[in-house]
Symmetry: C2
Subunit: 431 residues, 2 copies
């Protein structure tokens, strides 16, 4: 944890407490809380569950107001754990200490260099996406994935663990007002105060996109929830309804959460629900149209002007609709001219508010896709544009994804995932 904080570039005072050694990782240690020269703003209680309560008493005495408890074995682990947690929380309440956890494996704030993850983390790229929830995934595997596999950065990550203290309501209250945060992602397995959560969720979703993944949506899932963080499952139905009515975007897994979050982080909201699709493959057109139908997106049919533009690159007999299959143009005039002309012409069409461009990454697709997307984004700054890569050599796919996302356009692996993200941009905030 100390290594993480040093790696993250924390600039404030850092006081490891350990009576047994003089220094840890080059940082001078202190034998106890009382000998630290200033009252610490935050104490991270890296102790077994049975010793946490006495540390809390020390904190109370030293005037500490914020404590993170990473240890597990509290309400996540049966009756004895529940009693231990109650003992810890009693001290917190009496002393007015805000506690995050127990079972909180990490909080990260790249801009201030705070990183309390109990697993090792590289220094994280700052950005506007906040993620919080009960799971430690956000401050471990998902943090690492975002840092190495995505172009967007993070404002805050918080792992709430058992939520004995700080819970979803507190986090939403904070993040809706946090100027660093532009998108809020939540993983939750249930909330204790449904009414309060509904209220703050609605308020937050009015101001910023909020993406919610709910664990425990089935009976088997609710049983698993009880053993994970000790949350109660009773309010699940109420919860379902309130998320649906809040204007938050509900997703089904972490992949969909990141799909949607990166669209919010990289793209503007479209003016309307009309999507244009330009595709190298007919199957891409059909699956896009299916997705549009399911998601409530419209596919405005192109005017004669679109067909006129396409005559530059394709035989006259080729009919054009939206989604537009441009394979014949690619055969006749190559991918670069065909995709460039078709994409721009589609965005010029009345009622087309956003665009999905579908490729397969084969040698015949070779073109400066990143360049095309960069100029589309510049020419149509108000229209969200996405790319879909449906197959290709694995190495080329990775390169294409990297260069297109560097040009500010999120890449998806299926038409449905891209249109899902565009639908989220359009409909978020709408109950």
């Amino acid at each position: 944890m100390l290594a993480n904080i040093i790696e993250a570039g924390f600039a404030g005072g850092l006081y490891p407490v350990n009576p047994g050694v003089e220094e840890i990782l080059g940082v001078r240690t202190y034998p106890d809380l009382a000998s630290i020269p200033e009252p610490p703003e935050l104490v991270i209680a890296v102790l077994p569950r049975t010793q946490t309560r006495s540390l809390m008493l020390e904190c109370a005495q030293a005037g500490v107001r914020h404590v993170i408890v990473p240890a597990a074995g509290f309400s996540d682990a049966g009756e004895e754990g529940r009693r231990l947690e109650e003992g810890v929380m009693e001290v917190a309440r009496d002393a007015g200490i805000t506690l995050m956890g127990p079972n909180s494996i990490g909080t990260v704030c790249p801009s201030s260099g705070l990183a309390t993850s109990i697993v090792s983390l590289d220094r994280m790229r700052p950005g506007i996406v906040a993620l919080f929830g009960q799971s430690g995934l956000f401050s471990s595997g998902i943090a690492r994935w975002i840092n190495t596999g995505e172009k967007f950065g993070v404002s805050k990550i918080a792992c709430l663990g058992n939520k004995a203290g700080v819970d979803e309501v507190d986090m939403l209250e904070y993040l809706r007002g946090d100027p660093e945060t532009g998108v809020i992602c939540i993983y939750t397995e249930g909330v204790s105060d449904g009414r309060a959560f509904a209220e703050v969720l609605r308020e937050a979703a009015r101001e910023k996109p909020v993406v919610v993944l709910k664990g425990g949506s089935t009976e088997q899932g609710r049983v698993a929830v009880a053993s994970h963080t000790g949350s109660l499952a009773g309010s699940d139905k109420i919860y379902d309804g309130l998320v649906a009515q809040s204007g938050a975007v509900r997703v089904n897994d972490f992949e969909e959460m990141l799909d949607v979050a990166k669209a919010f982080a990289m793209l503007p909201a479209p003016a309307g629900n009309g999507v244009g699709v330009v595709s190298i493959t007919g199957a891409g057109c059909v699956l896009s149209a299916d997705a549009a139908g399911l998601l409530g997106l419209a596919l405005p049919q192109p005017s004669k002007r679109f067909a006129e533009s396409m005559k530059e690159v394709a035989p006259e007999w080729v009919p054009y609709r939206n989604p537009a299959d441009i394979w014949a143009a690619i055969e006749a005039s190559g991918p670069e001219r065909s995709f460039t002309i078709a994409s721009a012409a589609m965005l010029e069409e009345e009622g087309v508010d956003s665009l999905a461009v579908i490729f397969t990454v084969i040698p015949e697709s070779r073109m400066d896709a990143a360049g095309m997307f960069a100029s589309l984004r510049e020419r149509y700054p108000e229209s969200p544009v996405t790319a879909v890569l449906m197959g290709g050599d694995s190495g080329m796919l990775a390169d294409w994804r990297d260069s297109i996302e560097s040009a500010g356009v999120p890449v998806y692996t299926s038409p449905a995932r891209a249109l899902r993200a565009l639908a989220a941009l359009k409909f978020r905030g709408r109950p």
Copy 2:
């Protein structure tokens, strides 16, 4: 196309017909069909749509029985195209020629070195998975993805295009009896003879796993289908019902198709519907349990023996359920011992017929995962085992995926995707 056939290692006679040049890519050409020394088994008609009918007449005269027509612009492109297609098919019917296409961009058979794709293809790894449908994706981007991104190989790929001749019924008839094919994947946008398709689909699904992706499931999708391959949309509801009753596995996109196909290609069918889950993360447990609930999979609860085994690696107070959260064990004893002991103990449990092991790829997970999976596969050859990688550094994720799949265990990016594959293994063939 010729380059593809040479690259694929075709061993039979190869006769390019071109009156203008002496040789192409080092292969001697012939001025016309009649001058080829033997009647060719298969003619690939690489000509514009307007010249295809006269070539068909030449084929009829030369005794050719099989023709593939790659050109588009037939029933996929309006009234004139439809008339041209009818003209071609008239010749085919009169002469008893089996025609694949028009608009068929590729057929691949790695074992015989046939590769008629009109886009360039590297030599493909032979295997047991057959893929066919109207889309050219199978013989372009998806072929390249399978060849570079997956461990399984391909028996046959066929792009049926407009299906004026060979259709889904013919392909299923053929593939169900094809000894090279162990798994059949279909992309279809609608069939012309629902009754015949239903019958052969049921028969094929009894013998081999059949995976079906249907384009045109919504009204918008059906409109797009009409303009892609000219298929009729009217029978869609009938179609939905008949796929559901056939015992085929229906999937929603190409990613899910490959998820399921690789499970069929790499794993045995489980004895029952009980799944064991071992996870580094509580969220993985909860989302697995949700997926099990939705998919009709059971989560047998572990006996005391499981908890006994876990005492080797974790504090005694840690409770164990299925899904089993083994984070406390990993903290206490490291990932290698914890995952190895928990996975084997889970597979020893009564009623656990298959296993999903969930990792996040962080430095703390470092272990010989491939070695563990290889020995699980050896020790429990009748139990399908999958791995789930929920986040991590992108480079490490790719390495883990590669080495685990090399050990014969398919890797998925979410618990739901892994359990979806296990459910397909269990329930396939069951209407």
